[in-house]
């Protein structure tokens, strides 16, 4: 009976694994095939990888798009972690009558779909642009500013902070550390796993973000990877092999980030559930 259960578990897990891995498999295989073979659904690796890559590098400026995506994702992740962890820490550690009410209000903001605030937001950036072009329309900064602090990340850090031993703070105070000093020298190093988990989510969100960068970034020199891929598919006779190789390239960074931080990610997520 026990053996049977085990077999069943493995069969189920194998099926689940195949279902989740198959799209990746097909993506990689397709990037080595000619467009005609991709539309035919060919499942075997082909010989067109070099040709697809050459076409890709000839037709579009993928290096610019990659570096734009990296700049945006890295800056966005950095500022997200900084602001959200400060806020989450503050909400959990300091006492105030208004704390929980403010926090609930903040959580409510998670329910507003981005599409509904996009037009006012765009208008706002339109107003800023003449005085501060560096953070205005068509600047990389504008592509991540609106998503730097989200209620989700503040919530995430607050939940995880619940597990943080408050004694450490007391100890820090006795030793004469300032409040910010406590945050940077005691809290941050102890919460490494939480930061890692948040970093993965923030990086992926930013890397895959499409709608806002689409409207705010207009010139080709500011293009990010998702925008570039969207453009590739726009012609009347798309080159699917080339598109697949672009998508494969664009998946690599998120995969690397995930695998490097995977251990911390699981630990961080567990923490937030337990809290």
């Amino acid at each position: 009976m026990k053996k049977f259960k085990r077999i069943l578990t493995y069969v189920f897990l194998s099926v689940a694994a195949i279902i989740s891995i198959y799209p990746f498999f097909w993506m990689v295989v397709s990037s080595t095939n000619a467009s005609v073979d991709v539309t035919r659904g060919r499942q075997l690796p082909g010989t067109h990888l070099i040709e697809n890559l050459t076409n890709l590098f000839d037709q579009v400026n993928i290096v610019t798009a990659l570096s734009n995506s990296f700049i945006i994702a890295i800056l966005s992740t950095f500022f997200t972690l900084l602001t959200a962890s400060l806020a989450g820490y503050g909400f959990e550690m300091f006492r105030s009558k208004w704390k929980d009410r403010t926090f609930n209000l903040l959580l409510l903001s998670m329910m507003i779909p981005f599409a509904s605030i996009m037009v006012p937001l765009y208008r706002l950036f339109g107003r800023i642009t003449p005085t501060a072009p560096l953070i205005g329309i068509d600047s990389l900064t504008a592509a991540f500013l609106p998503t730097v602090t989200t209620a989700f990340f503040i919530f995430f850090f607050r939940q995880n902070t619940k597990m943080f031993a408050k004694d450490l703070i007391e100890a820090g105070r006795i030793d004469g550390l300032s409040e910010l000093g406590i945050f940077f020298r005691i809290y941050m190093p102890t919460m490494k796993t939480t930061y890692a988990a948040a970093a993965i989510i923030a990086f992926m969100n930013s890397w895959n973000n499409f709608l806002w960068p689409l409207v705010i970034l207009q010139s080709p020199s500011q293009q990010t990877m998702p925008l570039l891929i969207s453009n590739l598919g726009s012609s009347y006779a798309p080159d699917f092999g080339m598109i697949m190789s672009a998508i494969t390239i664009s998946t690599i960074p998120t995969a690397v980030v995930f695998f490097v931080m995977q251990k911390h990610f699981v630990a961080g997520m567990m923490g937030s559930v337990k809290g």
């Binding site: 467009s35 005609v36 991709v38 539309t39 035919r40 659904g41 037709q59 105030s96 996009m118 037009v119 006012p120 765009y122 208008r123 950036f125 339109g126 107003r127 800023i128 642009t129 003449p130 005085t131 072009p133 205005g136 329309i137 068509d138 709608l211 689409l214 409207v215 207009q218 010139s219 080709p220 925008l227 969207s230 453009n231 598919g233 726009s234 012609s235 009347y236 006779a237 798309p238 699917f240």
Partner: protein, 441 residues
Amino acid sequence: MKKLWMMLFAVLMVVTLAACGNGEDEGDETGADDPTEGDIEEAPEGDEDDITAWAWDPNFNIRALELADDAYDGDADVELEIIENAQDDIVQRLNTSLSSGAMQGMPNIVLIEDYRAQSFLQAYPDAFYPITDYINVDDFADYKIEPTSLDGEQYGLPFDSGVAGLYIRTDYLEEAGYSVEDVQDITWSEYVEIGKDIKEATGNNMLTQDPGDLGLIRIMLQSAGSWYFEDDGSTPNLDNNPALEATAEAYREIMEADIVSMVSDWSQFVGAFNDGAVASVPTGNWITASVTAEESQSGDWAVVPMPKLEVDGATNYSNLGGSSWYVLNSDGKEKAAEFLGNTFGSNEAFYQDLIEEIGAIGTYLPGLQGDAFEMEHEFFGGQQIIADFSEWTDNIPAVNYGMHTYAIDDIMAVELQEYLNDKPLEDVLNDAQSQAETQLR
């Protein structure tokens, strides 16, 4: 401690309010400069001679812009910058920018699909610059004018013809005992019969259909001079519309004849005919590039006029897709309009280049002749497909696409499936009509 926080908060509020106040002032100033502009802010001034254009297909309309740039012989200082954007992305960007009134980064010239044109022209009345004075409207195919103009002003410069044709495999036809002459100017019922014979002889289906894409329905409707809307472009015209009834019946006849390969996206659609799995492709002429991509099928294809409906006013000519150039009402609009007028609006030789270089069939009638049009295509067994397509372009019935073609498409996609599941046609169209009326009110 608490006091300190309160003070900090107060300071923050003051700073934010002050910042907002500044923004308002600036906004008002720009508004006061030019009352006709309303709230729309001017784009930042770049180089005055630069104009930018957005289009979506590097092998087609972007290439056309490049050719136009070469052919341009007016004000020599104009520098054209062409930016590639996916069509859906252009729609999203235009909508966001025009509805927020912030015009920074918007292009001077933009390509918009004809089905969507009226929704832009009517929703943002001051956003586009009329080009009536820069072109001669009578020079363009009649059916392109209706969707690209509003209240007597011409806003769009008609570009490519979406003239539809029936791409058909001649080798499959022969196997089933037919010749190309047998499929010229037929009806949809005859098409279905031939399809059955081909399936029997070759085992291949006649065509593909994607239940979510009503291109075929739109082709059929326009071929009979009808559309989803009354002539005003906003009153849904779904029940008591004989052309739509005939369309639905023809569609059902095709779907029930067991000659259709079902597909769910574009790549499967292209894959089916590249693979030889279907004998015909009823669609717009822009598919030529995808058909000819499978070189092993060279000589096995022909293009004939669309089959027609059995209803009053039915023709063998129709259109699918097609788009036009628009000038945004911002700095540089005169230059942009002059550029379009000088190239797409009047240069006959340029239209020859369009044919020779990219196979793009325009809708500028004086440009629809010449050597390029006589070219014989080996892939199509020596047929002069460009000449044929241009001739058909002239016969396409003009209809008003209105503001909500794609919204009605969504309604009809669901209702037509009900019809295939034996819901009576009258109920299907009645329900579609009432849904359309509620949704578009």
